[in-house]
Symmetry: C2
Subunit: 117 residues, 2 copies
DNA sequence: GCTAGTGTTTCGGATAACGAAACACAAGGA
DNA sequence: TCCTTGTGTTTCGTTATCCGAAACACTAGC
């Protein structure tokens, strides 16, 4: 399975539309999470493994390769870190974090109502 | 594999932090894409299959169940559609679309430079 | 030359996704 | 009525992906 890149056909879309490539890339297990863990500074591979309970090293390195090939992260002396492009992505993902909070509140309320019924 | 829900432990995180649940839920194949296709109105199951080339019906229904269980989409007479919560998610994902565009431009430029070298 | 810490790859077994077929149910026409 | 055609949905064998533990390579300090 090739790494999805904008401008080339990706899994599920022959148009190569950037958002399609992005959704293929980020719709792979742990991809979003790895970005999240790198949000506030560089981390080494073993540090990433420690933070992502259940992530296997083989998948980690596959994701690191994919994200590196797409210019989102880069290896430095301190480990892997977000490139400027990756930093922009982190900012673009921030509304998702905010949404997740309201999501949690909504679901809590729904669960309570279901329990009462 | 249980559907990740905010407030409960999810794959890769025992804290149940909402963003972790969200990343587990959306880090599954086609989950983001299905939301994207529903962004501008309800679609039936077969319409979704037609738009997502390569998506199999078995996975589609699994994702539809997961998204429905989390109150993000709901079945109506016209097919599946975003709930208010899902609409908020769509808006939260909009910066990602914008980012993908700049991503594509950056990668094009990099590819051109690589080709020249 | 040992130990301990990195980064990274390998490989067998387990899990998730594909892909095609089938089932159930409506609505419309011959 | 029977047949088609369109839905939504489930099943199941095959294939791809992921897990998990182990190992390899390299560096630094003792």
């Amino acid at each position: 399975m090739p790494t999805p890149r904008p401008g080339t056909p990706v899994r599920g879309s022959t148009t190569g539309r950037p958002i399609m490539a992005a959704m293929d890339l980020f719709g792979r297990r742990w991809a979003l999470r790895i970005l999240w863990e790198l949000r506030s500074g560089p981390l080494g591979a073993r540090a990433l493994l420690a933070r992502c309970e259940g992530l296997s090293s083989s998948v980690l390195y596959q994701r690191l390769r994919e994200l590196t090939a797409n210019g989102i992260i880069a290896a430095s002396a301190d480990g892997y870190e977000l490139t400027p492009l990756g930093a922009a992505l982190r900012d673009a993902l921030q509304p998702l974090d905010a949404w997740a909070t309201t999501w949690a509140e909504t679901q809590e309320r729904n669960d309570r109502i279901s329990a009462e019924a």
